[in-house]
Amino acid sequence: MPGILTALVAVPLIGAAGVALLPAGRVRAVRAVGLVTTLAALALAAWVWARFAPGTSGLEFEERAAWVPAVGIAYHLGLDGLSVSLVALTAFLFPLALAAAAGQVRDRVKAFVVTALLLEAGLLGTFMAQDLVLFYVFWEAMLVPMYFLIALWGGAGRAGAAIKFFLYTMAGSILMLVAIVAVYLGSAAGGGAPTFDLPSLLREPLGVAPGVQAVLFAAFAVAFAIKMPVWPLHTWLPDAYAEAPPVVTVLLASLMAKAGAYGLLRFCLPLFPEASRAFGPLLSALAVVGILYGGAVAWAQGDMRRLLAYGSMSHMGFILLGIFAFDVPAVQGSLIQMVNHGVSTGALFLLAGYLLERTGRARTDAYGGVAATAPALAAAALIVVLSSLALPGTNGFIGEFLILVGTFQARPAAAVPATLGTVAAAAYLLAFVGRVFHGPLRDDLRALPDLRAREYAVLVPLILVIFWVGLYPQPLLVRSEATVTAVLRRVAAAHGPAPRAAPAVGSRAGGGERTP
């Protein structure tokens, strides 16, 4: 009996099939079916998020069925504190992206909607899969639609950007596939049948030598680091972000990057605790470099989407920093920051898309004084930018604060330079706002229209979430706490001191102690 998680993956697929059967000429019907499908998925995801019982670290809504019994691959879905909010985020952003796409994608709309729905199914599956092969299937299954979204609907340099993106991510993930098979074979070391099932793998330590564990960890971590991206594996990012159609950039930055960070938490830390500890300082250092490098390069960009791309990379550095602090508040901050980054960076790229849609200009110095002619657009941009800057009261503050607090305890040497990153973010984001929206109004922008009703409909939910998380982050923290504690206990059990207790803000939830 398929359960609600299967339904969550199936809804976009069914919607895609439905759209595929519509005649290509009926653009309005195609868009409508696409939107309704994503809204249905959102309703399911919201229900799951609401019903998710905080306080346990185990899987909920679990579904399991034999898939390829001959080699021990199972169809195993489940949600825990790491994934439940990301699933909700995914389902939340897709209807907005499809609505925004209505103004930007006018060519081969049917194919676009089908591809986007396939991408949604892949992303949702990625966050829910509990079997290594099933995870890999979804992981690559979101890569292929993303490639086509960039390659078929992108800007002038789309072909190169798309293939660069794909080759980069594929190079990482195929090594992960080899590592997955190695983990599978290693799981039989104790004499049992080998398995790809994550909870079964975690039941006892992996039967591989420490050196091999380090190699396997590296194979997994590189795949996820490319996706995030982590410096120095980020060089695909500016091209892909700048050449993809603006709504697709939203999906790339908001959701696919999160899949990378999620993978680190879901697989690298629990499967390879010793190696995670060993590599922790290195990854923290890379995170700091990424934060500073991304910020510095963003500041120097003239193209607004490249500016936002590097800014996004800089922000992803904070998430990485939080994860490898191995500290409950920091990791919870990272999880919150994943949601925040999805919302805020997504909104930034959407706004950039609206500007591009209106003028076709990519460079910030081609704008000026837009606030005078489009005040609502400017106000929305300011709110989103401030949330990205982690202004208290907005979502960004909660995430970055938790990350930095946690990191200060665990790795002070990394936390100090990372705070400089917040300063850099202020510099490049405020410069962006200043150059585009303020100053004298350029003559050729006098006719620039303000936000339309459809665009309000997209931005208002995002801004509501920005404030909601900023003022009342409790629901997110409660959901992630038990699982994060369990993961970190596992890492700590490898050797070294136990993780610090949960932060006061989430401690009311209490919690189960089972390992995930």
Binding site: A24, A66, W67, V68, P69, A70, V71, D107, R108, A111, V133, Y136, V137, F138, E140, A141, L143, V144, Y147, F148, A151, L152, A159, A162, I163, F166, L167, M170, A171, I174, L175, L177, V178, V181, A182, Y184, L185
Partner: protein, 480 residues
Amino acid sequence: MTWADLSLIAPELALAAAACAALLQDAWATGPALESRSRGPAAAWIALGGVCAALLLLGVRPAGAAQVGFAGMYVRDGITRVVDLAALAAAGLGVMLSPPYLERFRLPAGEYHALLLLSTAGAMLMGASRNLVLLFLGLEMLSFPLYVLAALARRSRRSQEAGLKYLLLGAFATAFFVYGVALVYGASGTADLSRLGRAPDVPLLHAGVAFLVIGLGFEAALVPFHAWAPDVYEGAPMPATAFMSVIAKVGAFAGLLRLFPQALPQLAPAWGQMLAAIAVATMILGNLAALAQSNVKRLLAYSGVAHAGYILIGIASGGPAGSSAVLYYLLVYVAMNLGAFGVLLLLERRGEEADRVEDLAGLLGRAPWAAVVLAACMVSLAGLPPTAGFIAKLYLFRAALQDHRVALALVGALTSVVSVYYYLRVASVALSAGAADAVAVRHSRFAGVGLALAAAGVLWLGIVPGAITALVQQAVQALR
């Protein structure tokens, strides 16, 4: 020869009978006019009937213990079953996808179908070989019709060149094979594969095995015996290219399977290294050469070389895991490669084959389903989920790592990253907005059903592979 023997080869006999019928029917219908335009699809129906009959005969036989016939030369076991399935799938799809092309380019349909069926029977014999002599007969029966098929377009110089090249090089490689059979016999005193396992490990045996590998490696297009493949693939008429690209692999790898993991496990330490080296060279060269191709037939030719390298991973790794990976890959390869060719067969550029990558531009607008099928097959060839190519590669990596051949798995993995570049280029051109004006798309219900079957195979083997994985697992149970 007894009735029991004959009933053992009933599927092959059904194919041969259908081949004769197709040949006679077409000769009767069109007389001396080989390129006659006014021929119905009768020959195709007869051939399809033959394939279906063979499948039925395969199906009614219980999947129990191995049966041996023809004085121990022929064996019908799990491996035979899967190889037959792959070969018959190749034949069925080859028959269904070609009618529009045969009609448009006026190729002799009777000859085409008869040769196709005979070649299929040859591949099936190779899969059922328990004796080197039968393996040789199967190899000849497989390759001879292919030589003729390559030269089937009588008016095309390139087709004639392809046929001649294939014949000369193929005959050369076959000579090596026969010599190998002689040497193995000299070294071991037997040509019976089931007794080679007890052969003394003398240099003569290794020399003989080396020659056998050359003969089979030629058919499979393994580096360094692959040089014929691009020219022959490009020159041969496209339906022939499509069919030979898969059937030659089915036959050759069935032969290698019978030879290495099954008959000569004692040579695994020595030959595993050798085969692994060939596999590495084949994967690297095939993929790198494919990168530079702008002609889809050539591209698929080099891609075929690359896939031969992947499949060889399974042979080199040996054992039940390697063998089941090979069998699974063969089934998958048949579906995805014929699906890709099937779409190309629908196209025509000003009275010629539309075989350049740019001819595919804008296919989505004109034949959306064909474009989607092509994209799915390309994704599968690249080994990406959720298609069959992914599960097939997963199987191979598992076999390689289980045999501690990490380097083999890594090369396989990294070269598949390279392959993504050219496969996705084809797919994205087909889905792009442009339009190749000179290219016409023919619609054919017959080919449409064939394409749908190929696409269904690519997805079915990728999404719900349980039934087939169980089949191949069961097929290799007897191996140790």
